[in-house]
Symmetry: C2
Subunit: 582 residues, 2 copies
């Protein structure tokens, strides 16, 4: 592996004391040891410095097929195809150390990692790269999934499926590509919405579709107190992800982790490997992505330093992801999701898998299944709602990123310098105490014992301080990180709506130039109203979940903080009681 070009995709700032290596985006490195595990690789930079870097931050360049993958990841990075030829040239420049991404940062869409057309925080993703959380979905699930794609342990047959699917679509940018196929096809569909050359093809497909598929599946929207709402099942689905087991195949040549998922409905456990979750994600994204933000899996998040820790963390995050999907009335009731949770045997699962992959109602066509109660909405109102949601999700994204940044710095302080300082205070007290013991003066044992105890207390405090973040800050970070991922999907979802609204706006012109009939125009207005109902229902779902999640996590955080400070106070009270002034 070390024979080919290794290119850093993102900045990575080494955490002190973890023998990590700080690298810049676009820097080339040599792999010195790839068997570190836990998502880490040992690499050497041009200055000969050696250290650990997250493997997902590295892009390998060697063979033609890799260039193929690159093509996919470029697409995933939401680049106009027109720029591909150019980007190839810079890929090869990369070999002599140039930064192939730099040119793309000039891209008005704000660079590869950032979906928010004009996001001031955009640059922060680099800053906080060392943060186990900020390594998560970079606001753009596909841009995020892209680069690391080759590390996934797919079966061969899946690989073929993926690559043929991938190539096909990425070369022919037709609307046909929007309807079926693997991850990258989908990611391309989503991401292309941002580019004038393609965006309209998305909603157009639905807005002007002659006759809508008369499938049995219907997604009603009711008018609730808060406005349009999805129809919620009586009992909310839930599931437990647990008991990760190492499995192996090909006579142990290939090993993998299998998780057990137990849905609250059947209580019957089913087993899935990570790649199955990934498959589910792609299906959900493919089917609901235009109407419902589907957060990316906790895939490329660099967390555990060691395999165990990594597996534990990944499971915790898969649980979080599944819980969120279970809480969504549309997703949780969808056939593909139910198949995933309740398949009876291998055969049943394979059948369900094929059925899901054949599903025609994907992309924007999902809107054709939505049936809102209530009158058509006035286009002006539709646009206002859309604008409002866009503003809100944007500013919440900023707010969440701020908490992640601050929280990460706090984490570093609490696990680094602060406990060291309390330790030194503790040592200083104990040293003075032992000096006093050497005085040879009688009757000062009370003082020396008390000072030793006080010193030990500060050493205990040091430990409490260092351990605390895992008990409270961790969950605050996890929740905000989940929301960062979720919010990262909205620009695409909202993008589809904006494109639809624009289409409706040029309705008259299109009629005048007889591109469409007056009837088409009426239909479009009706359908964009349906899309708006869907968007509003989704936003209301998002809000109610948000309120619940933040209440819960803030309670947990503050509760633990109170315990923390009370424990310290109590320890100090005991230390205090040992001193006596005669």
């Amino acid at each position: 592996m070390s024979c080919c070009i290794h290119l850093m995709l993102y900045d990575f700032i080494a955490e002190p004391g973890n023998n990590e290596l700080t690298v810049k985006e676009g820097e080339t490195v040599t792999i010195t040891n790839q068997n570190i595990g836990g998502g880490w690789i040992e690499a050497q930079n041009s200055r000969g410095e050696v250290g650990l870097v997250p493997e997902d931050y590295i892009e390998v360049r060697s063979t033609v097929t890799d260039v193929g993958n690159t093509l996919l990841s470029l697409a995933a990075l939401s680049l106009p195809l027109s720029s591909l030829t150019f980007s190839f040239s810079c890929l090869f420049q990369a070999s002599n150390g140039n930064d192939p991404w730099s040119v793309w940062n000039a891209d008005p869409s704000g660079g590869s990692n950032n979906n928010w057309a004009s996001n001031p925080e955009g640059t922060q993703t680099g800053k906080t790269a060392a943060d186990p959380w900020s390594a998560a979905s970079q606001g753009h699930p596909q841009a995020y999934q892209g680069p690391g794609a080759e590390d996934d342990e797919w079966d061969d047959e899946w690989d073929d499926m993926k690559s043929t699917g991938g190539y096909a679509e990425s070369e022919s940018g037709e609307s046909g590509a929007m309807q079926r196929g693997g991850a990258h096809a989908t990611s391309m569909k989503i991401s292309l919405n941002k580019f004038p050359g393609f965006s309209k093809s998305g909603p157009e497909l639905y807005l002007l579709c002659k006759q809508l598929a008369k499938g049995k599946e219907k997604l009603p929207i009711y008018m609730g107190e808060v406005g349009p709402v999805w129809s919620y099942p009586e009992s909310q689905l839930d599931c437990v992800v647990a008991d990760p087991k190492k499995g192996s195949k090909m006579y142990g040549l290939k090993s993998y982790i299998e998780y057990q998922i137990v849905p609250s409905t059947t209580n019957r456990p089913v087993n899935h490997r990570y790649k199955h979750f990934d498959w589910l994600y792609e299906r959900l994204l493919d089917k609901f992505g235009s109407a419902i933000p589907i957060p990316s899996l906790p895939d490329k998040q660099v967390t555990g330093r060691f395999e165990e820790e990594f597996i534990k963390m990944r499971m915790e995050r898969l649980q979080g992801w599944m819980t969120r999907m279970c809480r969504h009335p549309i997703v949780s009731c969808s056939e593909v999701f139910q198949t995933f949770l309740t398949y009876k045997d291998e055969k049943d699962w394979k059948t369900g898998k094929r059925k899901a992959e054949k599903d025609e109602t994907v992309g924007v066509m999902i809107f054709s299944t939505i049936e809102p109660e209530g009158p058509d909405l006035d286009p002006v109102e539709v646009e206002q709602k859309c604008e409002q949601f866009s503003r809100f999700t944007k500013s919440m994204d900023d707010g969440v990123k701020e908490i992640l940044t601050v929280g990460h710095e706090h984490w570093k302080r609490c696990t680094g310098p602060l406990p060291k300082e309390y330790q030194r205070i503790g040592k200083a007290f104990q040293n003075l105490s032992s000096v006093f013991t050497s005085s040879g003066y009688q009757g000062e044992s009370t003082l020396t014992d008390a000072m030793t105890a006080a010193g030990k207390t500060y050493e205990e405090i040091a430990q409490l301080v260092a351990e605390q973040p895992r008990k409270d800050l961790h969950f605050l970070m996890e929740t905000n990180n989940e929301y960062k991922g979720l919010l990262g999907c909205f620009p695409d979802t909202i993008g589809v709506h904006k494109a639809a609204i624009d289409k409706v706006k040029e309705g008259d012109k299109l009629v005048a130039t007889s591109k469409i009939t007056p009837q088409d125009k009426v239909t479009m207005a009706k359908r964009v109203s349906i899309m708006s109902y869907a968007l509003q229902a989704e936003m209301n779902h998002f809000h109610s979940n948000r309120i619940y999640d933040y209440n819960r996590v803030m309670q947990l955080y503050l509760e633990e903080q109170v315990k923390f400070y009370e424990t310290i106070a109590e320890k100090l009270r005991q230390a205090h009681s040992q001193f006596t002034t005669m």
Copy 2:
């Protein structure tokens, strides 16, 4: 002033955000503004950088008389006179930026600021120079008093007295010099003990003195449970230093601060200016310095940024100094100390002053007044005790310096980065709360109010953290700083004893070479035993005070720490109560 050479005496590390200027020992600077006040001066370094530096860190070189003072301060810096000529030359090198002190660091006595013949911490004094506490007596009261001597606002007549006194002795290094005169004579006497060329003259004077002055003043030593002890008065003297008033003279051309001192005995207030305290210090050092460590005044300690704060701090430390003197059975009962506390009027004060200055029983002669009960001590035991005290005071000096260093760093963190971080956490919560408020979704005011409250709570915590050191760490630092000053005196006190012991050891040789009579030898042994009784009594006094002081300050510190953590826990509990999961 800016016309002459300004030479940095110590390293000074600027505290960030206080527009201070980092300077190296021996660096030359230009004074740009000396009317800053509070012990600060604005200076410019060779690189043109401008900032505040402690004025006491600057030595001014200009006129011949200054060179005279230099001579004194050199003596104060405990240099053998033999090296003076050489040091003169480097003083003038100083003008072209060289470090005149560096040569002295080669000095076996361990450099100008450090009295401990082989003190590993010695270098630390530089490191912690920015510390308001470490700026205090650098282990050597005289070395410390020396350099800054010229900033003191002495009346003219006092200046004369001092300089004549000073010159006379520093030029003729005879034993006559040991008995009377100004501060610098004394400081020289003490410091010279370290140098073979002079050390013997100190104890010799007493050990071989033909007939001891038959003064009425007697200092008995009794045998207590812990060994030899001074005789303590029934009721301990105490006094209150308060009510600093700005006075002025010469039609307001010269202004000064006058403090009110109220002794517990008379309850009648007397007024003294700083220079009177300084005069008292010199007298006590002169009279008792060989037997009793007399800590230097809180003179050159850079504390307040502004005059008020500076005066308040200086008063607090004068109070500390006076309390310690009051607690000493020998010092508090001495005539000079009583005069200082209880003089009736100006005339009475002047008379007392002159009497004290005429006192013949100074330097090593103080031992002639000591009358221990109990048998003469075996020379071996005398030496063992001396060694033991030397070891203990040395290691306690190290322990105390460690606490000061650690404490200072903790102080900086608690007033700098830590509160800033809590503030940012608070802001992040409040920002997210206001984003939520903008959602347009109904019924989340409970959440947003609670999050705003939580945010405000963390801002309050930031403030608590920043204010806490003044409430607890401050006193811990002050006490340790006092002890640092006190311990800095022991090397001189112990030095006198070591010299005496050596003298007795060579007794036989001296008899053989008939330098002394056999009778002299017997007398010396007896007198060194008396000195040992005194040293033991003083150590026992030191120990009992130490035990009391550290019990007291640790109690205070931990008490405040408990309150601090409890307050935070309570604030967080209130913030927590505002969140609700429906």
